[in-house]
Symmetry: D2
């Protein structure tokens, strides 16, 4: 991969800003804020971009939230169903990962999402719980609600336990 | 929402660049490239960010691809399962949308994904087809393959047909 | 369809009994008991054969049980996964039906089952609850437990509301 | 379990026949025919009762059919969704079992069914194929059609490979 100079990125940045709408600018500002925060944490770029935040972890339950903004809208201006699925998958996967011993992790084998109503408001909150923790498979479920507590989606995830690669 | 000045975004940008790693810079450059391209199209920010491209649409089948890069990796450095789900949901949803008459669109009611192997290589390609097109519900299925044609995931989506809001 | 005489069925019955094992006889006796009880109720032959019994219906929840016996075993001598699915589908479907007004009923559009552990013991009990009751679609979930309260499976069902045909 | 005498079953049988409708008699006759045939095969009582027949097995595909009759109807007089699920689960499970070496078998971990249209006509035919055969998990899919070849349902099954108990 070619090496990028600060100068070339600066040029890209200025070009983008030149013809950017107000919404374009807000989106870019959000992205820069979220990526800046990522530097201090160990998460992925994706979780940084959509600003996933782990709110609580107790009693084999885990909660992750994301703010709703145009970055995650679909073409109908509601939260993209794939982002709701991403939030659910991440919340269930993070929960499973935290319950496993140090040397193990888990990958999703099956994910199903039932969509109830459009994701609207200030943020989405997903709470995952463990249905069954087996030696090979972990079965989990999750509920996604909006900022008024209204149910947006339910999800089920099955995860296969694997050895962590070093 | 407050009005953002070019100056304030410029400051954010410079701050980010100051302590950015090479990978951080590549990611930011990709994001700027993808968002710049969005200005010429009607898609969503999300589809722009992950660079979804519709490759073909014929015989009630539709194909969308995304490049694989660190933006869409999970913490294990393989494609995030939520992005695979997003790609499948978008491909099936776009297909349904194109098959419907002008005044109608559709929203996902059920999405299920079976994950087969890690998403690796240069890109993922998803092909969706219609299992059943009813008046109220459309049932679709999709296959996601990597750049060698290896199966990464299969998916099923059920969509409810609704009137397009103006 | 040809008309069956009591005599021809009696002959079939005697032939079967002649070479029947003890288990064969127990199965046949169970079937006769279950079919006899069906005469007094409005259910289907299938629900009679596997002896589905509605135990409770309150607070938008409904519970149905079935006894475990060799009729519903698979070739591994545990409850056939299809019967667990049948129990879950019936419990969720019956619940939806009871919540709808007189002139409506509902058909399953999506059913997903996560199997946790083998169905063993004296009976299975399934409790269904409503996740969302919409005008067109009802989303439900269910848990199947064994006689010790151990979780055997979880299930999700989506039902489309239709007008009852007369 | 108490030992059943031929005499006690004969009494049950006569009682049932006394007040049986024509349909009751046809059902009982079918059950006796199906159970009689089971004596010559190694299948389960359940597969005998609904008369599952393996039609073909080639190229990692397997087909099983069942006749449609009132035994498998729901209260709306169409094939019970649970029976469609049972047929799909059995077809996918039998396929996986046949592809595994002698000392292994497999149990269903996830089953999802998308229902397209009511099961009507003379019989249902289910064809299963293998999406992915892994060491721990096998992913399969199936299509259920009626006697005119019309699609009734699609299904997905994930199976966990286990050692066969002796």
């Amino acid at each position: 991969m070619e090496h990028l100079t600060n100068q070339s990125i600066q040029t890209q940045f200025e070009q983008y800003l030149q013809s950017a709408s107000d919404q374009d600018k807000e989106i870019l500002s959000s992205i820069l804020t979220n990526l800046q925060q990522k530097k201090d944490t160990s998460g992925s770029y994706l979780s940084a971009l959509i600003k996933m935040e782990t709110k609580s972890f107790a009693n084999k339950q885990l909660e992750i939230t994301i703010p709703i903004n145009p970055i995650i809208h679909n073409s109908l201006d509601i939260v993209h169903g794939g982002i709701t699925a991403t939030l659910a998958d991440s919340t269930m996967g993070t929960l499973v990962h935290r319950l496993l011993p140090e040397h193990q992790t888990a990958v999703t084998t099956n994910l199903s999402v039932q969509y109830i109503r459009p994701g609207k408001g200030s943020h989405l909150s997903c709470t995952a719980s463990v249905t069954h923790q087996g030696k090979q498979l972990c079965v989990t479920e999750a509920r996604v609600v909006d900022d008024r507590g209204k149910l947006v989606a339910t999800a089920n995830g099955t995860f296969m336990v694997i050895a962590k690669s070093k």
